[in-house]
Symmetry: C2
Subunit: 273 residues, 2 copies
C-alpha cells in the first residue's frame, strides 16, 4: 500500500483539519501558500511580529499594556528561530506568507524570510481569535464568516492603544454577527480565554467605535448579517500591525493576515473553566 | 471639633486599615516605616523592582515567561516617577522601606531613593499575595501567620524560573498552613486571581520543592501549624529579588519584604468570577 502526497496547493479541508501541527508547518515550509484557518483543528494558531532587539522592549511593553489586542503567548530570545510553543518549527519558513515592513511601509510578502534573517530579531507570538471561534462553535454560537466562507471583518477604531515607548496606534477589532439571544453566551465563552483576546470589547453600536459602516471593513471581508444578529466586536491581533504602520520602526516582519503560525499547543490550554 | 494626627510611627491597626491609599502613601512619604500589611484594606499592594533600561527588557521578559511568581501589574516608562496604578504617588518616596542592590549585593535599605534616582530607571509593579489573603479570609480560610501576628514563611525552592536574557534564578514560594478540608477552597479562591500569583504551585510534600524543614524559612517568619493543617505553597513576589541576587545587574532598587507599594486599585479588580 502506498500513500500519495497531494501536490502543493491541492489539500482538501478535511485533510487540512486532520493534519498535525508539525505536518501543517511542513507543508507551508515546502511552499504551500494558504490561509491557515481550519488547519490542524484544535491547535492554537498565533499572530506573529518580529522586531530588532532595539525595538523589542517597546513591543513587549505594548503587549503588557494592551493585553486584549496583544496577548503574548511567547517571546523568543534575540535570534532564536524556534519557539517553546513549537520547538521543532522554524519561524523563518513555517508561516505560509509573511509581510516585510520598512519604516512602517509594507514592502514585500514572501513565503520564506531566511534571507532577511538577523541575529537581533525577537519574535512575538500573539493569541489569535481562531482559538475562541472553535469554542464558540462548540457552544452552538454560529460563526457567520465561516458559514459564508469568508475572512472575518476587521476595522480600525477611534480608540487608541496604551502607547509604549515609540509604539502607538489604534485598537483594531474583529466583528462577528451574533444572534441576539446568544450574545451573553458569546461573552461567557470568550471571557474564559483571555490569552486569545478574551471577552468582546464592545457589543452593538459600531459608530461608538468610529466605524461608520460595518459592511466596509478595513481588513478581511464583508460578512452578511442574518435577521436578529447583533455586531459583536473583539480586540484583534492585527493591532500590532497597525502600530507598526503608525510608529514606523525601520524593520519588522509579521505574518500575512489569516496566514498564521501553527503551534503545538492545544486550544484547550488557553481555556479557563 | 478637631482631629489630631498621631505622630509618625504610632498609627493603630484599625486606623491603618481605614486609611485611603493616598493617606497611607503620604504617611510613608513623611517618614513612617512599617510593614504595609493591613494598611488601606481592600486596595492592592505591589512588589516593586526598579532597573536601568539596559536590563528592563530582560526583566519584562522574565515576567512574561514566569507569570505566576512575577505577575506584572504595571511597567513604567523609563524615568517615570508615578504609575497608572497610583497617578498621584511618587515611586521614589512612597514605599516605607527600599532595598538598594549593586552587582547582586544588598547595599542599603533607605526609606527614600530620591538621591539615587536615574532617568533610565524602569519600575515594575508586581502582584502581591496580600490581595488573595483578603479573598481567602472572606471565604473563611484561616490565615495562620496573620492569626499569629507574623510575616508569612517564604522559601527558595529547587525549581528554576524560565530564564530571560541575563536574568535567571530559583522560584521563591510562600507557604500557608491550610486546614485539610479547606485546601480545595484555597485553590478555588486563588486560581481566580492570576494577577496576584493565582493558584498554588504545590500542596503538601515540601521536600519535593527542596524544602527540608518548613519551620526554618529563608525569608519571613516560622508559622505554627494547627492540627490537620497542610502546607500549601504559592509562587512569591520575592522571586525577582532572588533573580537579582543570582544574576547581579549592576544596579537595582526594590521594596523591602513586607514594605509594599500601596496602589489605588481595589483588590476586586484582580478577582475573576
Amino acid at each position: 500500500m502506498t500513500t500519495s502526497t497531494p501536490p502543493v496547493g491541492t489539500v482538501d479541508a478535511p485533510q487540512a483539519a486532520r493534519s498535525t501541527p508539525a505536518e501543517a508547518r511542513q507543508r507551508f515550509r515546502e511552499g504551500l501558500v494558504a490561509p491557515t484557518t481550519g488547519w490542524a483543528a484544535g491547535f492554537t494558531q498565533a499572530n506573529m511580529v518580529m522586531l530588532p532587539q532595539d525595538w523589542a522592549f517597546d513591543m513587549l511593553l505594548f503587549g503588557q499594556r494592551n493585553p486584549q489586542p496583544v496577548p503574548l503567548l511567547d517571546v523568543t530570545d534575540p535570534g532564536a528561530t524556534a519557539s517553546r510553543l513549537a520547538p521543532d518549527a522554524d519561524l523563518r519558513t513555517d508561516v505560509p506568507r509573511y509581510r516585510v515592513w520598512r519604516d512602517g511601509e509594507l514592502v514585500a510578502e514572501p513565503t520564506d524570510v531566511s534571507d532577511l534573517w538577523r541575529d537581533d530579531l525577537v519574535t512575538f507570538l500573539i493569541g489569535c481569535s481562531f482559538s475562541f471561534e472553535t469554542a464558540l462553535m462548540a457552544a452552538q454560537v454560529p460563526i457567520r464568516h465561516i458559514e459564508q466562507g469568508r475572512n472575518v471583518s476587521m476595522y480600525m477604531t477611534n480608540l487608541d492603544c496604551q502607547p509604549a515607548g515609540r509604539l502607538s496606534g489604534p485598537l483594531v477589532v474583529s466583528m462577528r454577527p451574533v444572534p441576539a439571544r446568544q450574545v451573553v453566551t458569546a461573552v461567557q465563552v470568550t471571557e474564559r480565554m483571555p490569552e486569545v483576546h478574551g471577552a468582546p470589547v464592545h457589543v452593538g453600536a459600531p459608530e461608538a467605535l468610529g466605524i461608520a459602516d460595518v459592511s466596509t471593513p478595513d481588513y478581511g471581508d464583508p460578512v452578511r448579517f442574518e435577521d436578529g444578529d447583533v455586531p459583536v466586536f473583539w480586540a484583534c491581533g492585527v493591532t500590532p500591525q497597525a502600530a507598526l504602520m503608525a510608529s514606523k520602526p525601520p524593520f519588522a516582519i509579521t505574518h500575512a493576515p489569516g496566514h498564521m503560525f501553527v503551534t503545538d499547543i492545544p486550544d484547550t490550554v488557553y481555556r479557563r473553566h
